[in-house]
Symmetry: C2
Subunit: 454 residues, 2 copies
């Protein structure tokens, strides 16, 4: 029976960094993975979606100067996406090997200070278990996911772009898919149960994004559910709650996620879960069972790779020194790669009102900036929610490159820089990052590039 200091269940972004860091510090560590090394992000999320996105952005760029849409070779496209996934996955596998992490393939079930590998009937003894099994796509009953015509993020990036695609759910994943596939020339329909897309974000963000995506040809059904799908002669008919029927080549379901907390032994051991099945954690990443910690998506929203990565580092700190402190969820930037990108840190106006916090809202258009005008940001803006003494409660950025630019707002959000400092910082021309300096001038009441009536 193999004996470890720590066994990590799940080899995604919440898991493998725990293993590598602990091995660096001299621990004996194993990782158990039942699917692919790299987890959801590497195989079915960030990596393939951003490989696809890069192509989508390129098509959008080219659309300014070609008379016909660029014609993509679907075989090359899939090969390209796969190549980036394989590269990322192989990188992780290499690191695990070089650092001496034992990697077990198979389904692991946690018992009393052991992890049982079901298929191989072997048992790993361990002092600590770190749960990092992530989430599965949530699939509503009756929607008929078959992995071929009606798919989830598990299949969508590996299939040829269909002629038409219905996206169920206008959350981050749904909106990203809608943008990328519409750029590839696919007829895209989006069905969203709520009255607006990206309902968890600032309301202005939803409005701008919907306008932008409509212009790209995406059609929206809001306040609407897909009640069932019917496969018909190679097509899929989606029946909507309105009674309407939409016939498309493929349907992709992206209505939410479900934590993988069942079937891995944790309920039996008394690991406390919340009402949605996510693991409840102490500030030091411990579950209610004193030798079980958890990391990544399984610990609840925001379900983001960079949050999972911070979790992983926190788990390591906790095991090594007992001193880790979980960051506040709202301090994790949220990014949506949707052409006109969305990036958000901190609270939305809705959240501040709910909490009864007083704030000032400063919203500035950004389309006048040349970097934005070149990269397509007509509907872009930055909105900052400011408290007393210019503390920053929230930054909401809708802009090309927002996913990169939001990092330049972090120092202002965490308070190591104030906006009066920004005036003296030479954010390079011609970049979207100039929005930081522009916003600072706007906030201070003397923008060069906007006319303000006195």
């Amino acid at each position: 029976m193999a004996k470890y200091d720590v066994v990590v269940l799940g080899c995604g972004v919440g898991g493998y960094p725990v293993a590598i860091k602990l091995v660096q510090k001299g621990y004996r560590v194993a990782v158990v993975e039942e699917d692919q090394v790299g987890g959801e992000c590497t195989n079915y999320g960030c990596v393939p979606s951003k490989a696809l996105y890069y192509i989508a952005r390129s098509i959008e760029g080219l659309s300014r100067v070609v008379s016909e849409r660029a014609s993509i070779d679907p075989g090359l496209l899939i090969e390209w996406v796969k190549s980036r996934v394989i590269r990322a996955r192989d990188g992780i596998t290499y690191l695990l090997e070089r650092y001496g992490v034992d990697l077990y393939h198979g389904h692991g079930v946690v018992g009393d200070r052991v992890v049982k590998l079901v298929s191989e009937k072997s048992v790993l003894e361990t002092d600590y278990v770190v749960l990092a099994t992530g989430t599965d796509p949530l699939v509503p009953r009756g929607i008929g996911v078959d992995g071929e015509y009606v798919v989830t993020n598990r299949e969508v990036f590996y299939m040829e772009p269909p002629g038409s695609l219905l996206v169920v759910g206008a959350g981050a994943i749904g909106v990203e898919l809608a943008y990328s596939y519409s750029m590839l020339g696919v007829d895209v329909y989006v069905v969203e149960a709520m009255p607006r897309i990206l309902p968890f974000l600032d309301r202005d963000v939803s409005v701008s994004l919907e306008r932008f995506l409509r212009e790209k040809g995406v059609r929206f059904y809001k306040n609407t559910l897909v009640t069932k799908t019917v496969r018909k002669n190679g097509f899929v008919e989606a029946v909507l709650s309105s009674g309407e029927r939409v016939v498309v080549n493929r349907v992709v379901v992206a209505v939410g996620r479900r934590p993988r907390t069942t079937g891995i032994g944790v309920e039996e051991l008394g690991v406390r879960l919340d009402s949605k099945g996510y693991v409840e954690l102490s500030r030091a990443y411990y579950t209610s069972v004193p030798w079980i910690l958890a990391s990544g998506d399984i610990t609840g929203p925001p379900l983001l790779a960079h949050k999972a990565f911070l979790d992983a580092l926190g788990v390591v700190e906790s095991i090594v020194s007992g001193k880790a402190v979980k960051p506040k969820p709202e301090s994790i930037p949220l990014t949506i790669f949707s052409g006109l990108e969305v990036a958000s840190i901190g609270y939305t106006e809705e959240e501040l009102r709910r909490r009864g916090v007083e704030y000032r809202r400063i919203r500035m258009p950004i389309a006048y900036l040349s970097a934005v005008s070149i990269k397509g940001g007509e509907y872009g803006f930055v909105k900052v929610l400011v408290g007393r003494e210019d503390s920053v409660y929230g930054v909401h950025l809708v802009a090309p490159n927002a996913s990169e630019v939001v990092s330049s707002f972090i120092p202002y959000y965490i308070g190591v820089l104030g906006f009066s400092d920004a005036k003296h910082i030479a954010y390079p021309h011609l970049t979207v990052s100039e929005v930081v300096r522009e916003f600072a001038e706007y906030l201070l009441g003397e923008p060069v590039h906007l006319y303000i009536r006195k």
Copy 2:
């Protein structure tokens, strides 16, 4: 005779912000411009080159998934570039009008507290003059610039992409042109007098960029001059100092800049110039003549729009409160938009050695990051030059999106964040900005994503 508080000579990035800011503060201000509103950056520099670059980047992206190169409509391309320039220019004109800045078109010559408009024979009386006339392209004798076959940045962005192009000079402009035109399918040759391209930058930067551009098909002649050009049947033959002859459709000269300090009356007034003709300035932006200030490229390197903009704000502070302090030139980030982009703040190793400063060099490859692998950054790296107590002397970044990402290094460069803080900052996945956190972990000796032999 019109009477102003301040007359600004030149309506580029060094000039128009001075006018707008001063008018906002109640001053009577005129701007005199002899060419186009917006100056070099808007008309012949940043804006058209980045409009072109956006297309070039898009072609590079698409090259992963198409079997043939995308075919650009040259008419649409020129229209696109022009449209971005016109938009930027019109924006500035609108602001000047709305804020009530008087704009005079024509050649202005400074006299004793006056600016004479040569063509209109009118005279503007003024308390202060701000020189912001910028630079012209430096054209070596005998190279035969004719504005048609042998051109400079003044013409190149408005001509149809030629079949082949010889770029004279591998500085920032030359390298940007080489990248963009090579992506457009143009056969590009680059001739550089020095032994390496981008000779003023970190040596490793030159090596990576040359490798990257060679891979894109760019051919280099280093340690070489163009001694003359000869027009022949619609082609141009460039004679190199090696004796070799290169026959191309067009030649573009980008060997340097020459300040526009002659013919504007400043020598007559005793404004002190340096050996290269740039205006010498006090720390408060004053020339040697007590009522003449200066801003932008005319004040010397770095010749960058964001430096000119800071100058303009500084000039305003100086006039209004007398308290402006020029930033150190090395604190201005330098960016090169070359596909694999370059961004640099602070000193190079060469400069530190020359100054006898002790430093540690930490250089990290970045190709393993998925954002970099997707966007094409095989030869990318980050190199940080660190002094005592982890003070940062220089950051040299070669990466896709480096122009945006460098802004995330600024807080570390100016010392409001230390790299030990970066471990706790959730730079979003999947972005190139993650390089900041990755670098911090590498510096601290425990990277997750790189194998370090013990």
